[in-house]
Symmetry: C2
Subunit: 141 residues, 2 copies
DNA sequence: CACGAGTCCTTGAGTCAATCAAGCAATCTC
DNA sequence: GAGATTGCTTGATTGACTCAAGGACTCGTG
């Protein structure tokens, strides 16, 4: 679910458009993940370990408890999509790496997750730059 | 969690900006809901019943199983934020309506969910129109 | 009118995501 | 080295979600 809604009445046009865009993006993300047998959480983690990361880094980036990451990584490891390697510099810590299978699966997932690519393709180069600038400005960036 | 990620490597600027915007939006939504003791799911449902809706309509709009809606509505009803009224025209069906408490709480939630409002406020009127048009075009709308 | 099919919702069972509290092992600080 | 801190895991719980099954109601057809 997790479908934000916007006050049908009060919302201005931009706010409505933002909502629709966010909703479409979220929906596309989830659909793409499911198509490859991934939950959104699994896809998030799998995406992050494109480069080697510790459990703690994942927890921070994904804004959740470390024990949550443990649970997800264990499952991904059981499917041989990631490996947990010891960190030679700190034996408390573990480095998570994607396996080749994980790379393949995530690649396929990204292929399927066409939304941002398609959205960009619907715009001219100038419009893309404009949109980038406007989104960043809207976020105060 | 539910934090979409984007290929750190391959993503273009627009795609990166889209991701950041969506992520910020999602995060703001969840934070605002939590601040009022609502889960995202509860906030979604509460938002939709601004106007009277059947369980089935809610399930369809929120793209989930009817039994999921039942569960959420039961809890919202227990907190007296919504009421389930019989539909006189079809006694299988139930109409969900917000109570005054529900109106108040959702109003407060929207007040807290400042992200879209703030984002709009960071732009000039002309930029807002531009952004609306670009987002719609990007979605093929 | 009655029967069967379909609709609307609820219940129950089960899974995954998420959080918290507790604990263990390794590291750091003094 | 003792004690605090860090990094992760385990266990218990809660909530969101899905699916299968069932009850109540409606509708269409004969």
């Amino acid at each position: 679910m997790a479908v934000p809604s916007v006050p049908a009445s009060a919302a201005t046009d931009v706010e409505q458009a933002m909502f629709e865009f966010v909703d479409a993006y979220n929906q596309a993300w989830e659909a793409a993940a499911n198509e490859h047998g991934l939950s959104t959480a699994h896809a998030c983690v799998l995406g992050r370990v494109e480069t080697r990361r510790s459990m703690g880094e994942l927890a921070e980036e994904l804004r959740c408890d470390a024990s949550n990451i443990t649970q997800i990584v264990v499952r991904l490891e059981a499917r041989e999509l990631v490996r947990r390697e010891p960190n030679p510099d700190d034996r408390r810590s573990r480095q998570i790496v994607r396996t080749p299978d994980g790379d393949d699966l995530y690649g396929a997932f990204e292929e399927t997750f066409a939304f941002p690519r398609a959205a960009a393709a619907n715009l001219t180069a100038a419009e893309r730059e404009q949109l980038t600038a406007l989104l960043r400005k809207a976020m105060r960036g």
